[in-house]
Homo-oligomer: 257 residues x 2
């Protein structure tokens, strides 16, 4: 397939999309060590970006978010949560996605003009277990990979802002909602849960105090010890109690609930 | 001014607006007794609606929200918070705003056609002290008034859903953020604060427990007693300590902070 066909396939019929509306997905994964974000690198120009795309005129927003994520990264998530819409005038000022003076840009003038219009973008967010979410780049991307949060490169347009806004929301929600069920394996140690919280809060927390708080919430079931060499020091494994976890999701953990 | 001129003035030049994008404002007020929502009643057809409007092509979203609110209700708020974007395909299916078979609809065919396109709407939210926010209807609205939450009428399009989503967000946030500084007068009784919380949570809370929680948060300064007939039973007046209130806004009240 040559570049023309690739672009044609990727974009489809421009007139089938809502003008000026896009979706960008912030997908956060955890590898038991640190938080990562799913990024694409655009072949033409080498820009890093969030997985994003356009919305069909006959498609609900939430559906478009799942479709776009799968088309661009191969990762299938039935539900992503909308978290904020980005509509500042200058949000796409920093760099054009297509360069009209390259052969490709000249050839796809219609697409280029279409992309030049003002876009507002709906940000969608999901937290996933990295080991069960293996990314694959779409036709126009050089690569699709997990990048540690501490080394996010410069992203195209306002995508760094979009990613930061999503992370800010996760940090806020950790104060009143349970977290981790979609980020951790079925069984995990208290230490692994603590690392997850520390990664989200971006600060160290006291071990004993953390364990006490978590156990008090009542959403963890204790299982057998983790099998290691020295069994006498082996940590217990825990799993989320789905029923209690979902109850906390519904009523919140806050001081008024 | 005849209807033509009114419509012309109200809409301005349609081509100056972003196609398919609108803003709807959920403005919640408190009168020390119950929560109210700011609603408009459209002259043609009598539909109730949230104050909403369109975004100029050269205007940031947040700016548009303030402008639209002021144009439609006379209430000037420098900042409204974006809370969710509504983009379902069928969100405006229930009723057309203009009826093309009326003389007005036929005359404003261009406007009517424009309104027929799919719209996605950014929901914006603000909490205000009702006594300092006196609404005035725009040219095309019959009335602009505060309606108690418990008697919200059927609204146009998906506006009931938009209002409910905003209220749900306030209810969630009350679990980890301070609330009330923009809803209450400068000084208020503990009972008035409790009524505000009960209105938001939609349930009764225990008086002694509530007072204990609120005082423990440290964001209230106690002032003189409220002057009433029987001074021995007069309740204390409180005011928010802005510094501590803002600190809690920033770091959250939750169990991890």
């Amino acid at each position: 397939m040559d570049d023309n066909e690739k672009y044609g396939e990727w974009f489809g019929d421009l007139s089938s999309f809502l003008p000026g509306v896009s979706i960008d997905c912030v997908i956060i994964g955890f590898d038991l060590n640190e938080l990562n974000i799913l990024l694409l690198k655009w072949k033409e120009g080498g820009h890093w970006m969030l997985p994003g795309g356009f919305v069909h005129k006959d498609e609900d927003m939430d559906h478009a978010a799942s479709r776009i994520l799968e088309e661009r990264t191969g990762i299938r998530l039935p539900y992503l949560k909308q978290f904020h819409t980005f509509g500042d005038l200058d949000r796409r000022a920093n760099v054009p996605l297509f360069n009209p003076v390259t052969p490709l840009g000249a050839q796809f003038k219609e697409m280029f003009d279409w992309l030049e219009q003002r876009f507002i973008s709906l940000g969608y967010l999901s937290l996933v277990d990295m080991r069960s979410s293996v990314p694959a780049p779409d036709l126009l991307s050089e690569t699709c990979i997990w990048k540690p949060l501490k080394s996010i490169p410069d992203l195209i347009y306002d995508h760094n802002l979009i990613a930061n806004k999503a992370l800010e929301q996760i940090r806020n929600q950790i104060n009143y909602l349970p977290i981790g069920i979609s980020l951790l394996p079925e069984k995990f140690t208290m230490k692994q849960l603590q690392i997850l919280y520390e990664e989200i809060l971006q600060k160290k927390v006291d071990r004993a105090n953390f364990q006490k708080k978590m156990l008090k919430l009542g959403f963890l079931d204790r299982h057998e010890k983790q099998l290691t060499g020295g069994a006498h020091k082996a940590p217990f494994l825990y799993a989320f109690n789905r029923e209690k976890y979902n109850l906390l999701l519904e009523k919140g953990i806050g001081y008024m609930s």
